[in-house]
């Protein structure tokens, strides 16, 4: 290892060391400490790096931060960062394992919805960064031979994300937005499943609650099943398929929304 590489490895080690002391500051032999100790100087960089990453996580998980409070969020981020240090300068890639990290924290165990709210925020963030898709090609679909219909593979837009939760995470998310409506009724009983689809429309990412049938249909398409397999999967997953949730209606609705953006045979 070159001298510069060794110095940078030591610098990094100190930033990752938690509380720095005279004994554990590796950089003490490399920096001038006649006015401020080496641990004091390295502490500036450690604090700055942690603050920068925390700011990035705060931008991705603003509702989680509101729910647990700024101070606790900063503490959690510090623990998370030290356990999962970033490997890329693109901070948009960072934070995917924070929902699971939150789920394992004893201090927030009573916030049974927190993990799924965090997951929703992560998927929302990823959706907003996803590539745009073309509008659905209705004319070409109309030309598909009836005998080929069951072989079709419908394609979801790159921005689509699906999430199912036993908690009303859509309402929790809405209540914690700027200018949130005041009349949202919330019941955290864990007895009603919430199904959500995220997708980009125009400049914005939208969050929409959907039925169980819609969810299972979109999930089947996401998993690469063809139309025939999708029908079987949806029938197996949902006990009831009322007239208003027929597969034809679901497909049409999500083609019009841009959730389903194309197909192949």
């Amino acid at each position: 290892m070159t001298k510069l590489a060794e110095l940078q490895a030591n610098f990094f080690k100190d930033c990752l060391s938690g509380t720095l002391t005279a004994d554990n500051t590796t950089m003490s032999k490399d920096i001038d400490s006649h006015l401020i100790s080496a641990q004091g100087l390295m502490g500036i960089y450690q604090h700055s790096a942690l603050a920068n990453i925390t700011t990035s996580l705060s931008l991705t998980f603003p509702v989680v931060e509101k729910l647990v409070g700024d101070d606790f969020f900063a503490q959690v981020c510090r623990q998370y960062i030290l356990a999962h240090w970033p490997i890329s300068a693109n901070m948009d890639d960072y934070g995917d394992s924070l929902p699971q990290f939150l789920a394992e924290l004893e201090q927030v165990k009573q916030l049974v919805y927190l993990k799924d709210v965090a997951k929703l925020e992560w998927l929302f963030h990823q959706s907003s960064l996803a590539k745009d898709s073309k509008y659905f090609d209705w004319a070409t679909l109309a030309g598909v031979a009836p005998t080929d219909t069951l072989k079709l593979n419908f394609i979801l837009a790159p921005s689509v994300a699906l999430i199912k939760s036993t908690q009303p995470i859509n309402k929790i998310w809405q209540m914690n937005q700027d200018n949130a409506p005041q009349n949202i009724e919330l019941s955290i009983d864990g007895e009603t499943d919430t199904f959500i689809v995220l997708f980009k429309r125009g400049l914005k990412t939208e969050m929409m609650t959907i039925t169980a049938s819609e969810f299972f249909l979109l999930q089947s398409l996401f998993n690469g099943l063809n139309f025939e397999q999708t029908i079987e999967a949806v029938m197996a997953s949902t006990a009831t398929m009322g007239a208003d949730t027929s597969i034809d209606n679901i497909l049409k609705k999500h083609m019009e929304l841009g959730v389903i953006c194309g197909f192949s045979i």
């Binding site: 590489a5 110095l7 001038d32 100087l41 300068a89």
Partner: protein, 291 residues
């Protein structure tokens, strides 16, 4: 690609809509390239619209030009992402920092960390800048760092290190006046001596920002926080910069605790007033010389 002149401000997410709706009177805008890597993201779509009305300078924070590893897959991927972004954004200027962020083992520190000014580091940084310029197919400007510590083994003066990089790579300089002020305080060097040793022709852009003051072990340390109004001492140093380097594109930087746009526009006016003061004073001197 449009030319950049006058005083610009850093474009922040919270002001995107105002720039779309009101097109405030600003000469140009600077963005952090890394915030717009996804061309289809909402923010990038806003920026694409805004860039129709304002020249853009792309300021990078992740090239890690001081990293000891001259080639690392993650940094190569990062360079490609910058290349993709500048291909649609077409910025008038492109810059990054004289600092490092990534280590050999693939870890990344999202900060602009100081390098020791040694012959070994000079060779590494020059190679990294040359490689970045080859990949990006254009000149990059290197920003002088702010620093809170002094390495024991750092025999080359910072300004000499920068001058050598200019000679070896053909890069330009983004002169951050606040960084000079902060580092001069923290490291005890003379800011005017620093300015006097920077090659005039290499400087293509100027940054102005506010710092914060921390008390560590009884010592005042100036922290390059970009979260305050610009201090008087930095404004005075800026006046000296304009006198030495001429009128150059100047940026008001504000990255933390970002205030209302009106606050940034007021700082912009202060910079414009200083430019006008220096230009008028030089005009009077030239007129007197002519008479």
């Amino acid at each position: 690609m449009r030319s950049i002149e006058g005083v610009g401000i850093g474009l922040k997410h919270k002001h995107l809509q105002q720039f779309i709706d009101n097109k405030p009177d600003v000469a140009w805008l600077e963005v952090h390239t890394e915030n717009f890597f996804s061309q289809d993201s909402t923010a990038a779509k806003y920026l694409a619209k805004i860039s129709q009305y304002y020249p853009i300078s792309a300021h990078c924070v992740g090239m890690s030009l001081g990293s000891a590893t001259t080639k690392c897959p993650i940094r190569e991927q990062h360079l490609q992402r910058i290349k993709n972004t500048i291909s649609w954004l077409q910025p008038s200027l492109l810059s990054d920092h004289l600092s490092w962020s990534g280590t050999e083992n693939g870890h990344y520190l999202p900060d602009l960390l100081p390098i020791p000014f040694t012959e070994e580091a000079l060779d590494v940084v020059a190679k990294n800048i040359n490689h970045a310029q080859d990949v990006l197919q254009r000149q990059i400007l290197i920003e002088n760092p702010s620093s809170y510590l002094t390495y024991i083994d750092s025999p080359i003066a910072e300004w000499q290190f920068l001058s050598s990089l200019i000679q070896e790579t053909g890069c330009g300089i983004l002169l951050d006046v606040n960084n000079i002020y902060v580092s001069a305080h923290n490291q005890g060097f003379d800011a005017l001596e620093y300015l006097a040793n920077i090659p005039v022709d290499a400087v293509k852009e100027i940054h102005l920002a506010g710092y914060s003051i921390d008390n560590i072990e009884g010592q005042e340390v100036y922290i390059d926080s970009h979260g305050h109004k610009i201090y008087d001492g930095v404004w005075r140093l800026y006046e000296q910069v304009i006198k030495r380097f001429g009128v150059l594109p100047t940026l008001i930087e504000w990255d933390t605790n970002v205030p209302e746009l009106s606050v940034l526009l007021a700082e912009k006016k202060k910079a414009e007033a200083i430019i006008l003061k220096v230009v008028n004073a030089e005009k009077v001197m030239n007129d007197q010389a002519f008479l």
